[in-house]
Symmetry: C2
Subunit: 339 residues, 2 copies
């Protein structure tokens, strides 16, 4: 297996990307290709690890030169069309030609989604590919789809998201009949805005024949605790939901730290329970879950978090390996074609 | 001051309503009127406090008889029109006639919003009244408006929400020039769906002349920590945001408890830091913040949380007292009329 990593994308590139790849190298059964400016990557490798050649850091690492970089300010379609030798476009082309099994990038999200759709291509039968994000939930992760790719959606899109989430969860987590809900502001059938009302009807009607275990409307406050495996929604609402969770997660961290550090006595008193608190923080930390899978394109593409640090890159690479191993994309293609 | 409380509304009515009112009685400078089935309330008072008359429990408490109750399953407009002697309709009518200064209810949300608009009436110049919810944020609360009243909105509605939030925050929290953002999925001007794009333009254009300190698009993850005072959004998105926060708050509680209780050693080890953890939990608990104010109607109306317990009722009653004292509604009427 070959994992293609955009070495230049993300807020902490290229150091976090390089370190994440080095840390992941010993844990995955794959070669990891760092795509980006070779001279820059080499110089950082020397600085960080004191080695001339990346292969001396880990045998399964290599560099693939790409002389340009897509910046966060770049207009997605323009960047994909004109920056032909950017790490992102090069990565997509390697993936398309079969010279890699999965492409991972923390770069410009718009460019990543546009590139995946334009260069790798949509799966026949899927109108809109979408991001399957994984968010913390009780005892396990919850799949949120679309977590940000499509700002405006139609009911048919949400139905297809449910189909893809269903196949993904079955294959990756071994859950036989995953429970899939529609993210809404009430549980009753007539609740919500025009999109959710129409989507509810369509999901209810089509789910039985598509083998989807549609459990109806889900309010956000129940999504985390009640044994739900996935919620589908449009990319605007999904992204609002996702970022609310990130924001409150950050607030939890700050508040917990400050509450403990109020004075020297509470600080000392807290020492015995630090391991429990660490475990607690880990459970809520989205960095444990990796990136978001871009489902609906012909090859595996993983969107790493823009602010990925080395640990998150490591986890996202491990997640990408699993994504390929489970053949999720092949299975989506096969199942969608059947219909 | 007279605070009108719907004694029959909410998941834990009437006991939580009664207990909350009794607890609040000694803390507010107001009379509290429990509206609902007199015989039921009296029987519960006797059971809970061993007294025949509610005045013997606290001098500033009284009962106002209303023989019907609006249930959660009732269709809002039908219930408001036909259940003329329900605790909610009676409450609104007392408020309208000036026989009370604020109405608080944890009952059927749709009926509450419909009743407020139909019976109390919209403020001239406000097309859509909206719920101003208060959510936990760093060091203080953050106003989220609309947090659930209007599923479908136009840009003009969001501008009016910003106007009302501005007046409310200035008067209630003494913040001179409150920072108001637009809830969105990116910070750039062209981000989001059709509604946020159009609303951004309108807010940017009109804010200077309306004295609104509009700080642009705000992503959910930044709303909690960066000194923002309010975010405006449509009621669907606002409610999704609010419930994501509630859900993760619940998950935090469960996870923290479980992490600490893993085994007897971590449990014993945790004892010294329990006060810090309690302080932490309190900071994140929405029950500390009370209910949501329904701004844009001619009199003060407060929507208490449907699952309010006695503590939340107590806090919501205290919040209602402040709402009247600060004359927020009068000030909104005055400032909107000026324009």
């Amino acid at each position: 297996m070959k994992i293609l990593l955009d070495a230049m994308g993300g807020d902490n590139a290229p150091d976090a990307n390089i370190k994440g790849a080095v840390n992941a190298a010993s844990k995955v059964d794959a070669n990891i290709v760092l795509i980006g400016k070779e001279d820059v990557i080499k110089a950082r490798i020397e600085q960080l690890y004191g080695k001339d050649r990346i292969e001396d850091v880990a045998q399964n690492l290599s560099i693939y030169n790409a002389t340009e970089t897509i910046e966060m300010e770049d207009v997605p379609t323009m960047a994909i069309k004109h920056k032909k030798d950017s790490s992102m476009v090069v990565g997509f082309n390697l993936l398309k030609r079969g010279e890699g099994d999965v492409f991972v990038s923390a770069g410009n999200s718009g460019a990543l989604l546009t590139g995946a759709t334009l260069l790798v291509g949509r799966i026949k039968g899927i109108d809109r590919p979408a991001l399957a994000g994984i968010i913390p939930a009780y005892k396990k992760g919850l799949v949120l789809m679309d977590s940000g790719a499509n700002t405006n959606c139609k009911p048919i899109n949400l139905l297809q998201f449910a189909q893809m989430a269903n196949i993904y969860i079955r294959n990756t987590f071994g859950i036989e009949n995953p429970k899939i809900g529609l993210l809404n502001i009430g549980t009753e059938e007539n609740k919500g805005n025009d999109l959710t009302k129409e989507s509810y009807k369509l999901l209810k009607e089509k789910s039985p024949e598509l083998g989807i275990n549609f459990i109806g409307n889900i309010e956000g406050r129940d999504a985390f605790t009640d044994g739900i495996d996935a919620v589908v929604t449009d990319g605007f609402t999904g992204n609002i939901f996702l970022k609310a969770i990130e924001g409150i997660g950050r607030l939890v961290k700050i508040s917990l730290k400050e509450s403990i550090k109020t004075n020297i006595f509470t600080l000392l008193g807290s020492i015995p329970c630090l391991p429990s608190l660490k475990k607690f923080a880990k459970r809520l930390d989205y960095k444990e879950h990796g990136g978001a899978l871009f489902l609906g394109v012909k090859k595996p593409v993983v969107k790493a978090h823009g602010s990925s640090d080395e640990r998150l890159f490591e986890n996202t690479i491990k997640q990408a390996e699993k994504f390929v191993k489970n053949q999720t994309v092949e299975k989506i293609i096969k199942e969608i074609e059947k219909i």
